[in-house]
């Protein structure tokens, strides 16, 4: 029973982590209809920005976190302005956009490795053990609890933003038919720029929290992206609610999957679930 409780907690942590990745990933996909590989490296940007400001410059942790979130958002925004927006204007295909985002991902990942080395690093100096809360005999650290709370608040906030603001309606209009959105006077390029900023900032939050929980590495973006993209596809790519559902489903399947088999198989479980969905329900859980 205690083991089950720990598995449930681990599943919730994994689901919340994937949710933080899928929120931005799906937001950008919904507005642009291309699979943005660059999204993964933005998590690393968030983590490394906090690392740089706290450890190298010695700025207050909370200030660094805010800079990290805004920094990731800005990098995403600039990538859109200089790369993706230019390609959109040239009416580049989604495949071209995908390749360009992969290229930008690799370039930025290499820059991070050159500046910060490829070593695994810890964001915080502290040698203190993380605070641990016990639920029966199961345990959760305060960072992991923060990941769950942040995922809940980020999901709630984004849903509110899209559902109740004029900006949200404009994003939905672009997602439905970008050409018609232009005809009714929506500056789609500008709105997509803001979508990139918001989505990338959420990816930055994911990277910072993962950094606090397990540490950072320039290559951390790829693993995060693959898990997030898988969760998005399972839930219904481009669908915000689907992404959240897919994230938690993937979290539970992965964690309960390694109950009886070695944890090295976790990745195999993830992609087996993906393949099953691609064959039997390629539109995901939430798409019609």
């Amino acid at each position: 029973m205690d083991l089950i409780m720990q598995f449930i907690i681990n599943s919730l942590i994994a689901g919340a982590t994937y949710t933080l990745v899928t929120l931005g990933f799906n937001l950008v996909y919904g507005a642009t209809k291309f699979v943005n590989m660059f999204h993964g490296v933005l998590a690393a940007v968030g983590g490394y920005t906090v690392f740089f400001f706290t450890q190298t410059i010695g700025i207050d942790l909370w200030v660094s976190i805010i800079v990290g979130i805004i920094g990731a958002g800005l990098v995403g925004f600039l990538a859109d302005r200089f790369i993706f927006s230019t390609l959109r204007i040239k009416k580049a295909s989604n495949l071209v956009m995908f390749i360009a985002s992969l290229g930008a991902f690799i370039v930025l990942q290499a820059v991070l490795a050159m500046v910060f080395t490829s070593q695994f690093q810890s964001i915080v100096h502290s040698v203190d053990s993380p605070r641990v809360y016990e639920i029966g005999s199961a345990a959760i650290t305060h960072i992991q609890l923060l990941i769950i709370i942040t995922a809940l608040f980020s999901s709630f906030g984004l849903v509110l933003l899209l559902r109740f603001t004029m900006f949200g309606k404009a994003v939905k209009a672009i997602s439905d038919d970008e050409e018609v959105a232009k005809i009714i006077g929506i500056d789609t390029n500008k709105i997509i720029g803001y979508v990139f900023f918001i989505g990338s900032a959420i990816a930055g939050i994911a990277g910072i929290l993962i950094g606090f929980d397990t540490g950072i590495q320039p290559t951390m973006g790829l693993a995060i992206l693959l898990e997030g993209a898988t969760a998005s596809i399972i839930g219904g790519i481009g669908n915000l609610y689907g992404g959240i559902a897919g994230s938690f489903l993937l979290g539970f399947v992965e964690n309960f999957g390694i109950w009886k088999i070695p944890s090295e198989w976790k990745g195999a479980i993830t992609f087996s679930v993906l393949i099953i969905f691609l064959i039997f329900r390629p539109q995901g859980i939430f798409k019609k």
């Binding site: 933003l161 109740f164 603001t165 004029m166 900006f167 309606k169 404009a170 939905k172 209009a173 997602s175 439905d176 038919d177 050409e179 018609v180 959105a181 232009k182 005809i183 009714i184 006077g185 929506i186 500056d187 789609t188 500008k190 709105i191 803001y194």
Partner: protein, 243 residues
């Protein structure tokens, strides 16, 4: 007085001219129909006028402003809006939101924090009641019938409060009672001093509604004038009606 002019307008696709040196003047506060056989360049002209396609040559003069290159999203600033031959709504949004989105705050920062005002809701209610679809306001636009979707597209154009309405086959595929609603809307636009440009194949409606007619063939202007004069011209009958 012309509110919309094209001067030697050109648009080609891979060397094939869809619009070939077209010069027309659309009169203000009138209903102008553009007719012509399939492939004559009518829809391409609307696409060019609404900024969806770039111009390859010539220019457009909108209410005295000469435009040679402009972006689609700037078109409403010039007081121009359009509908599509194949209805294009925001299918994943409700009927209500399809109209409300037109009333969206154009400043992105304001839009991030603002919600729709009562004025927006009242305007939306008025428009949906005009097309008899107020009861359907909470349904997804994509789930409605073709005719209903066509009416919503017209209501969306009305919400734009434009000066020039480019309506691409607005009567096609409508039941008689829906057709009457659209005819009344077009007439009302004219009485309100708006300019309407219709692409239409129904000759009875063209005779009934139009003040002026342009006939296009192979991207060129074949004839223009009052409906009864133009529709009786031999070259128009030959080109358009194939007689």
């Amino acid at each position: 007085m012309a509110v919309l002019q094209t001067n030697k307008l050109e648009k080609h696709f891979d060397g094939v001219y869809a619009i070939d040196g077209l010069s027309i003047e659309v009169p203000k506060a009138a209903i102008t129909s553009i007719i012509g056989p399939n492939g004559s360049g009518k829809t391409t002209l609307i696409n060019v006028l609404s900024g969806m396609l770039d111009i390859d040559g010539g220019s457009i003069v909108l209410d005295g402003i000469r435009l040679s290159r402009f972006k689609s999203h700037e078109i409403p600033m010039y007081g121009l809006t359009r509908t599509f031959q194949e209805v294009r709504l925001f299918n994943q949004m409700t009927v209500l939101d399809n109209i409300l989105v037109v009333l969206t705050e154009r400043n992105v920062f304001s839009a991030l924090f603002e919600r729709h005002s009562n004025l927006h809701f009242m305007r939306t209610e008025e428009l949906l009641k005009k097309i008899n679809l107020w009861e359907k306001r909470n349904e997804l636009a994509g789930n409605l019938s073709y005719g209903q979707r066509k009416l919503i597209e017209i209501a969306r154009a009305l919400a734009m409060e434009a000066q020039i309405y480019l309506l691409d086959e607005p009567f096609a595929g409508l039941f008689p009672e829906m057709l009457k609603v659209v005819v009344d809307i077009v007439k009302e636009l004219k009485t309100r001093g708006k300019t309407v440009v219709l692409i239409e194949h129904n000759m009875d409606l063209i005779r009934e509604l139009s003040d002026y007619v342009f006939v296009m063939d192979s991207g060129k202007l074949l004839a223009d004038g009052k409906p009864n004069e133009v529709l009786n011209k031999r070259e128009v009958i030959e080109a358009y009606l194939g007689e």
